[in-house]
């Protein structure tokens, strides 16, 4: 199997794992990790499959995605700390239960 092919399969698996983690609705940290996984699978594709006429451009855009995911992670974790302080738990389903 060509490298491109299994890179593609790998990134698909990574992406779907991200969706799964996000929708599983367990710990908030897992949800954040799921989002990071999805962003990284997109990055992998951008780095690996840039067309020949735009060499390096994929990596550049991947860099921007990285910046945005860093911002998201920082703010997300800050919110997580705040949520934990308020509810004394960081499980999405439990927070939902407490609310109702």
């Amino acid at each position: 199997m060509a490298v491109e092919q299994h890179i593609l399969i790998f990134s698909i698996l990574l992406f779907c794992a991200g969706i799964g983690l996000t929708l599983l609705g367990g710990e908030l940290i897992r949800i954040l990790i799921g989002i990071e996984l999805m962003l990284n699978s997109a990055n992998l594709n951008l780095v690996w499959f840039t067309p020949a006429n735009a060499a390096g451009e994929g990596s550049t855009i991947a860099l921007f995605i990285l910046v945005i995911s860093v911002c998201e992670a920082a703010v997300g974790l800050a919110v997580l700390l705040r949520v934990y302080r308020y509810y004394r738990t960081s499980s999405a389903s439990e927070i939902n239960q407490i609310r109702e």
């Binding site: 969706i19 550049t60 800050a78």
Partner: protein, 163 residues
């Protein structure tokens, strides 16, 4: 060829770590598995010829975010409580559907033209200082805003809202 085998190994490790993220009982281990996935990805970037991204991925994900996640885990999970809340496996159905759809269409989305695998640090530098200059500036600004926002959100003491 040697690099191909390296890439395959890295992918296998990363996938095992992903399984670990799903199944780990301690949330601390989840963070460690996440770190593993990110390091493997950095390796794959290196083999793709993107040395710059390799280093950035190592520094940002391996160094920054993973440590941040570990901090969050340590602060929130003092008892290292396991995730015992019943979670329905049906929640995974959309992920499975997406997986099936993408895999079913794998052939049709296989790329045709792929650039030479060469070091692209110079290319990235050129793009950042030319075509994406404004975006680059905004990205820096965004990081600043996110940093200030994160600090305010995390540090700000709420006025007696706790239970």
């Amino acid at each position: 060829m040697a690099p191909e085998k390296f890439i395959l190994t890295l992918e296998a490790i990363a996938l095992l770590a992903v399984v670990g993220i799903f199944l780990a009982k301690k949330i601390f281990n989840t963070a460690l598995f996440f770190l593993t996935v990110m390091l493997c990805l950095a390796g794959i970037y290196g083999f793709a010829g993107s040395t710059y991204l390799f280093i950035v991925q190592l520094a940002v994900y391996g160094g920054g975010i993973a440590v941040l996640v570990l901090f969050a885990v340590m602060i929130t999970g003092k008892k290292f409580k396991t995730n015992t809340f019943p979670v329905s496996i049906w929640n995974l159905l959309p992920a499975v559907l997406v997986l099936a759809l993408l895999l079913a269409n794998l052939k049709s989305i296989a790329p045709s033209a792929i650039s030479e695998r060469e070091t692209d640090s110079v290319l990235i530098g050129n793009y950042l200082s030319d075509q994406y200059l404004v975006a680059f500036g905004f990205a820096g600004f965004l990081l600043l805003v996110a940093m200030v926002g994160a600090i305010i959100v995390a540090v700000h003491k709420p006025e007696n809202h706790g239970r």
